[in-house]
Symmetry: C2
Subunit: 73 residues, 2 copies
DNA sequence: CCGAAAAGTGCAACATAATGCTCTATTTAT
DNA sequence: ATAAATAGAGCATTATGTTGCACTTTTCGG
C-alpha cells in the first residue's frame, strides 16, 4: 500500500554498509531481533518509535520535507 | 523519549500553513480524527502507515538521511 | 463578552505491532 | 560440498496503536 520499501531498503543498506548484522542492530537499537527481521523482510507496519530507534543506531535521521511538485524527472 | 515533537511540529505547521483543520486532514488522509488529535497533541506513537498517510495528504515526504556527524552548529 | 468552530481528553472495543521461542531457509566462508 | 553464520517464518502472548462516541477546553471572529 505504501512506499515502505524505500525506508526498508535504506535501513538495510545502511546496516550492511556498516557491516552490522541484525543481531547487533537489535542490541544497538534496543529493538528486538524478531521485530527487525520482520521489518527488513518487508512485513509489518513499524511504529515511529521503532523506526527512530533503528535510525538512531545506524546514524540515520528521519525527516519530513515538502515534496517537490514537479521534480525534473 | 524520542524526538517525535519535531515531526509533530512539522505536520502541524504544514497543516496550518495549508489552512486545513484536523477534520479536513482526517478526510484527506484517511486517518481518523481521533488519531490526528492524539498525534498533534503529542501523545501516542503512530505507525509508519499513519505518518505516511498524513504526510502524503500534506504534500510532505518522509525520508531517511545519513546524519551529519559534526554539523557546524 | 459570547457563541461557534476547532482542538484536546476519557473510556472502551478492536486491530495489530512488538516480542520470545523454535524451526527452516539462505548466505557465506573454508 | 559442507558447516557455520545470518536471515526469515509460524505461533502465541502481551502491549499498544487506531477508532468512535461523548464531553471539556481552548481559540477566534463578531
Amino acid at each position: 500500500m505504501l512506499h515502505f520499501s524505500e525506508l526498508i531498503k535504506t535501513i538495510k543498506a545502511r546496516r550492511e554498509m556498516l557491516q552490522v548484522n541484525q543481531e547487533m542492530l537489535a542490541e544497538l537499537s534496543g529493538v528486538s531481533l524478531r521485530t527487525i527481521k520482520q521489518f527488513e523482510s518487508g512485513k509489518g507496519n513499524p511504529t515511529l518509535q521503532t523506526i527512530s530507534k533503528l535510525a538512531d543506531a545506524l546514524g540515520l535521521e528521519l525527516t519530513l520535507q515538502v515534496k517537490q511538485l514537479y521534480p525534473d524527472k
